[in-house]
């Protein structure tokens, strides 16, 4: 590994303040004509994306960016998350251009709704970027809480009865979860503050990187208790079983681009918070590794079994996210190079693939007005691009070669076996097989099965979605294919991100 240079830079600040400012202006200028909000959001995200790319370039060339005495700290893992969030945000905004206005009832003031939609979307991305660039454990909590607040109104966007229930459930459960995380954070901080002065001399105990330096010296019982609270807290945000109750409803009732955002990014923020906190301790406590493996395996199996019995495509995708986040968290919990590498690889793959699938379902809804498997069929010829994108997503999430999900899952199987958790590896393989069955069945039914039986769907009028919708999907599908065929493209950044976690874990702070 080359020498790492620590640079003081304003980029970590700009990457979260830019979308936040653009989002706030969108909310304030809601009276402007409806088209303004989308273009303004796109402009904000282009700038944010450029900053993220610049950060990515800096990190890939061996730099770590910090600001405000290491309170902001961007390493490989942060750079990966920032880039993913910004690029997915761009695709989602472009996709929303025709989609969101088409779903608004005529009596609704489109200016107000669109300004709320794009404003909150941008503020969410700003808060997510803050989560991914902070090194301060309290700021991590705060920014995570703000991502929930920013997305609550996006979940409830349609204001129908089901969306109201989903929004309330989401906000309530994630708030309760985040308060558990607060207890965990408080206990870790207390464990560090209780150490003799000589051991904490010169350390700032709210910085994750400084806490990691004394992680082995903290009282073990307190550390285990704190980790249980952190797993419950951040696990709720990540949608892990048994803290997942909010996820299927929120994903199903939110507008389709927001479902893509929730599944692609929001739950990953919870996983990111777990990556930054529990990995400080997991290599030193085998109990944490086993506990995380049990919860992750339960998520995998429960999620995919529930996905298999769904008739609603969005609920099927939502339950599949519960299952897939299990893979991500299991790898993180293992605390080994292979485990963390596989976990980050799967996080990246799942972000792209699940966003692609949700956007494809959005396209199906746009064309037919329904998302029920039992009412769909024969769309393959009418919408070949959507069919192609859905099939790419379905085969990829199933973990079939040559898609990159195959490689990330295989890495995780190996990592679990290497850590001596054969049972976890077997559960992961079994879940993979069920995932293939679930998605191939759905794809076949929607695109090749018998044409729709719903009298509300006029098959002769069904046609491919507008280019701004399929454009983004096609880009993601091609990226997924490219990552599968050339997985080495990802190696440098994934390796850097993994090494950064391992270094912080080892207490080596640059």
């Amino acid at each position: 590994m080359g020498e790492i240079i620590v640079k003081v830079s304003f980029l970590p600040f700009l990457v979260f303040i830019t979308p936040t400012v653009f989002g706030t202006i969108t909310l304030l200028l809601w009276r402007l004509y409806p088209g303004f909000h989308g273009w303004w959001a796109l402009a904000g995200l282009v700038i944010t994306g450029t900053i993220s790319l610049q950060i990515f370039h800096e990190v890939i060339t061996g730099n770590i960016l910090t600001l405000w005495n290491n309170n902001l700290y961007v390493d490989g893992l942060s750079a990966l998350m920032l880039l993913l969030g910004s690029l997915l945000g761009l695709v989602i905004v472009a996709y929303s251009f025709p989609f969101i206005p088409s779903r608004l009832p005529e009596e609704v003031d489109a200016r107000r709704k669109l300004s709320l939609y794009y404003g909150q979307l941008l503020i969410f991305l700003g808060m997510m970027n803050w989560t991914c660039s902070t090194n301060n454990i309290v700021m991590l909590y705060l920014s995570l809480e703000l991502t929930t607040l920013a997305t609550a109104f996006l979940v409830i966007f349609y204001w129908n009865r089901a969306a109201i229930e989903a929004g309330y459930k989401y906000l309530m459960l994630v708030t309760v979860g985040i308060l558990c995380a607060l207890m965990g954070i408080g206990l870790i901080y207390a464990a560090a503050a209780g150490l003799p002065k000589a051991e904490t001399e010169g350390l700032r105990l709210l910085l994750i990187s400084d806490l990691s330096k004394v992680s082995t010296k903290m009282a073990p019982s307190l550390v285990l208790l704190a980790n249980a609270f952190l797993i419950a807290g951040f696990g709720t945000k990540a949608g892990l079983v048994p803290f997942h109750a909010w996820l299927p409803d929120a994903h199903a009732e939110a507008p389709e681009p927001i479902s893509a955002l929730l599944s692609g990014i929001v739950i990953k923020v919870g996983a990111y918070a777990l990556a930054r906190t529990i990995t400080i301790f997991s290599p030193h406590y085998s109990a944490i590794v086993v506990f995380v493996a049990i919860i992750a395996s339960a998520s995998m199996v429960f999620g995919i079994l529930m996905a298999l019995v769904q008739d609603d495509l969005k609920r099927m995708l939502a339950y599949s996210s519960v299952s897939q986040i299990g893979y991500v968290v299991e790898g993180l919990g293992l605390g080994t190079y292979l485990g963390i590498y596989g976990s980050l690889f799967h996080l990246l793959n799942h972000t792209l693939v699940k966003a692609l699938l949700f956007l494809a379902v959005g396209a199906i809804v746009y064309m037919t007005g329904t998302r029920k498997l039992s009412e769909l069929g024969g769309l393959g010829r009418k919408a070949p691009i959507t069919a192609f994108c859905f099939f790419v997503g379905a085969l990829a999430i199933g973990g079939l070669p040559p898609f990159s999900v195959f490689m990330s899952k295989f890495t995780l199987f190996l990592a679990a076996a290497e850590r001596g958790l054969m049972w976890a590896a077997v559960i992961a393989v079994f879940t993979g097989l069920l995932t293939v069955a679930c998605f191939v069945r759905a794809a076949y039914k929607v695109f090749w099965g018998q044409p729709a039986t719903n009298p509300g769907i006029r098959m002769e009028e069904v046609k491919e979605v507008p280019s701004s919708m399929w454009g983004g999907m096609l880009v993601i599908a091609l990226v997924v294919l490219a990552f599968g065929l050339y997985p080495k493209i990802l190696y440098p950044i994934l390796d850097k991100a993994t090494v950064c976690i391992l270094e912080i874990l080892g207490g080596v702070m640059h």
């Binding site: 809480e145 229930e165 309330y168 901080y189 209780g194």
Partner: protein, 219 residues
């Protein structure tokens, strides 16, 4: 400030928390929440006596927990029914359950407190009792969130969770500015506000604050 005063305040805090959990009259429950939050503010002041940051946290806690949040509750509760939905197990059994729950939890925590402190020397009074009570209040909040049917009561449960977490924080690390900083920025006031707002919308649509009937919104 003296350990005796802190423990007295803690006992009032715990009793108030139990009353909040069991009062059927929601207005009375919010008034009790004011008392509970004010004792928490005084505990913050007592633990951090003479420290500027702690004094700022005390003022912030008084503003948000004692004035602002109760004001929000009273404002939204004008639209809700004044009485809580009856617990599934009935009033008296519910009361007995809460008392037993608190006694068992407190006794367990007090006995095994050494597992929850950073050093053995920290397992002394008033930390020992205050930490046991903090965890008890936190778990009581979780209990209220899980078993209560009324939407307003569940939101009050969230506030009990928050107060329990803050109480644990101040009990464990009383003398550092970071503690005050953590306490100030981790207030869930906006979440509680939004939950009340969503609650009002649910009441308008569904005509009840019974969370067991929330699934009717999907039909």
């Amino acid at each position: 400030m003296g350990g005796g005063l802190i423990i007295t305040l803690m006992v009032i805090h715990l009793l108030a928390s139990m009353l909040i959990a069991e009062m059927r009259n929601l207005r009375a429950a919010v008034w009790t929440l004011i008392v509970q939050s004010f004792t928490l503010s005084l505990i913050i002041l007592a633990f951090g006596w003479g420290q500027v940051w702690m004094f700022i946290w005390f003022l912030w806690a008084v503003f948000t927990k004692v004035f602002f949040l109760p004001w929000l509750f009273f404002r939204y509760m004008r639209m809700f029914p004044g009485r809580e939905e009856e617990p599934v197990v009935g009033t008296w059994l519910s009361l007995a359950l809460v008392v037993v729950f608190v006694l068992i939890i407190y006794q367990l925590l007090h006995t095994y407190i050494s597992m929850m402190v950073p050093t053995i020397s920290a397992a002394t009074e008033p930390t020992k009792s205050s930490l046991s009570m903090a965890f008890t209040v936190f778990l009581l909040g979780a209990y209220v969130c899980i078993v209560r049917r009324d939407l307003v009561k569940v939101i009050i449960g969230v506030l009990l969770l928050e107060n329990g977490a803050h109480l644990a924080l101040i009990s464990l690390v009383p003398g550092r500015w970071e503690t005050a900083c953590m306490g100030i920025v981790t207030n869930v006031v906006i979440s509680a506000w939004l939950l009340l707002y969503f609650g009002e919308v649910i009441f308008r649509v569904l005509g009840t604050t019974d969370t067991l009937k929330l699934s009717e919104l999907r039909r």
